[in-house]
Assembly symmetry: C2
Homo-oligomer: 323 residues x 2
């Protein structure tokens, strides 16, 4: 896993993923006490950066594998990213989802062209079911983060950050990244090591799901005690991956932990000052930038808003923080 893989993914993605800009607002700068730049991956196709990894993986399959199709486990952003990437390549995506997933998410994943297989969380072994379907139909599994092509795809976010910041004369920055399994974080870290070596990636997690922050301290992969209890559903991953953690350990600065309330308040500011819709797990990096200034080390902070797939009732909670 190296920068060449990310540059190759960038070539495959060009013209397919959206080239998101770096946004700013003087009002956010004032809150943070430093310059704040925002990379709005909520504007990416399917509403999150996951489309990049999905496209990178599907586009790098050999012809036979791509023709047969892919399979993924997800009820969230990875499902939609893989579904649209596969459909755009004219191939099949099978997505294994729990049958109690929100009706809208199931409908959206189907509408993006995927074949959805539902399972009962209580009576079915998800991995066994996935293995069986993959084996029977010859499908290629696309894991959500511990996959070199996926990390390479997410790393294209870092190439764009480096390029756009350089054009603005910015070489030094904390780069705050919403962190679940570490695919986005490790990909960005690799890209910046090559193209903006004076920037330091700061993984950001919600309280109670700070396994990466703890892992960076202990030097080994730590797990979260719980699998539920935050509103930041997109990044409530139990632990970092065997591929992603060594990269983060080698390249990232200390992790930052924010509360769910911080995430909601950051969503409110993204609404008011940037006209963007962020989901809770996609807003934790902006929350770190705005509300945890003492944890940052540079005059500029670049915060990735990683996704915007949030329902109206949760967004209303974020709006309520503005009043």
């Amino acid at each position: 896993m190296n920068i060449d893989a990310i540059r190759a993914a960038a070539l495959r993605i060009k013209g397919h993923a959206r080239r998101t800009p770096l946004l700013s607002s003087p009002f956010l700068d004032e809150i943070a006490g430093r310059r704040v730049l925002v990379k709005p991956e909520c504007l990416q196709h399917t509403g999150s950066f996951k489309f990049r990894g999905g496209w990178s993986a599907v586009s790098n399959l050999d012809d036979a594998a791509r023709k047969t199709g892919v399979i993924a486990f997800s009820s969230g952003n990875h499902a939609q990213g893989v579904a649209l990437a596969a459909a755009s390549h004219g191939t099949t995506a099978v997505i294994i989802m729990p049958e109690d997933a929100p009706t809208l998410k199931i409908a959206n994943t189907k509408a993006l062209g995927a074949e959805v297989i539902l399972y009962n969380r209580h009576t079915t072994d998800r991995d066994a079911l996935g293995d069986e379907v993959a084996r029977d139909r010859g499908l290629t599994l696309i894991k959500p983060f511990d996959n070199a092509d996926v990390i390479a795809g997410q790393g294209t976010v870092g190439l764009e950050i480096a390029e756009d910041a350089k054009a603005m004369g910015i070489t030094h920055a904390d780069v705050a990244v919403c962190c679940g399994g570490g695919g986005l974080t490790s990909g960005i870290a690799l890209a910046l090591q090559a193209d903006a070596p004076d920037m330091v990636v700061r993984p950001v997690e919600p309280a109670g799901f700070d396994d990466v922050a703890r892992s960076l301290v202990s030097g080994q992969i730590e797990k979260n005690a719980s699998q539920a209890g935050s509103i930041c559903d997109a990044i409530m991953t139990q632990q970092a991956g065997n591929m992603t953690f060594p990269i983060m350990k080698s390249l990232c600065g200390a992790g930052i932990v924010v509360s769910d309330d911080d995430a909601l308040r950051a969503m409110g500011h993204a609404f008011e000052r940037l006209k963007l819709v962020a989901e809770p797990g996609g807003a934790v990096a902006l929350a770190a930038a705005l509300f945890h200034p003492d944890t940052l080390t540079q005059d500029t902070v670049i915060a990735v808003i990683s996704g915007g797939n949030v329902d109206a009732s949760m967004f209303a909670r974020a709006l309520a923080t503005l009043q």
Copy 2:
């Protein structure tokens, strides 16, 4: 007023205004029954396209006039656009606002560097006050739409639409534009006449404020009967301008009228499918694209979301349309 003025404004604006993309969602295409592309000017600096016109006007003043400063009447998006443009040029913007304008809007306009002069709507003649201040201090008045430099600045939206659509292979489209006084609409129409002559601009207005639609039918400037009663505050202009109407009469297709409920529903879809915050008056063009398919004539509709400056309580009403 011609295409050369728009191209000159584009050169002055380059690197200062945000270059907004064309966004899309397969879900919006399905609702509309045709291809839908969205130009998100809510992502522009100050949250609306008005920054373009403000920058265009301030940057085109001669040195002496620019040094002295500018003045504008506005409690809305034009105020913020002019304020930031003037501040960025290191000059003064005086904004005349009613003293009962929302506290937040007054605070924002000041925070963007403007000097705000408040007046009592009931006891003070706004125009006389403005004339007096302008004369005493030698300030240049920047009107919100009936000003050649302002129209030229707004027209840069049209140059970008033409360029990006062409790159996607699209030459024919209805281009739906949120229309108040007609600065944005006439500017885009001039730009498209030159760079995408097979596209037709369709002014979109809220019910009760359809003066442009009626004017295009009668061939002369019609007025709205009321000055209040819609949630689309950004485009509740009493009548089109003496500069903007002849351009619209010559170049635009028929106007489209949408309800306030249509605008709220369009805001909901922009939230859910594009992760964008639109204000009611900024959402009427998307409302026309999604909910009034029979009024459109082409296989593609390009809708400009002209602004996103909406407060949380109004946005909550838009979210409620999704449930």
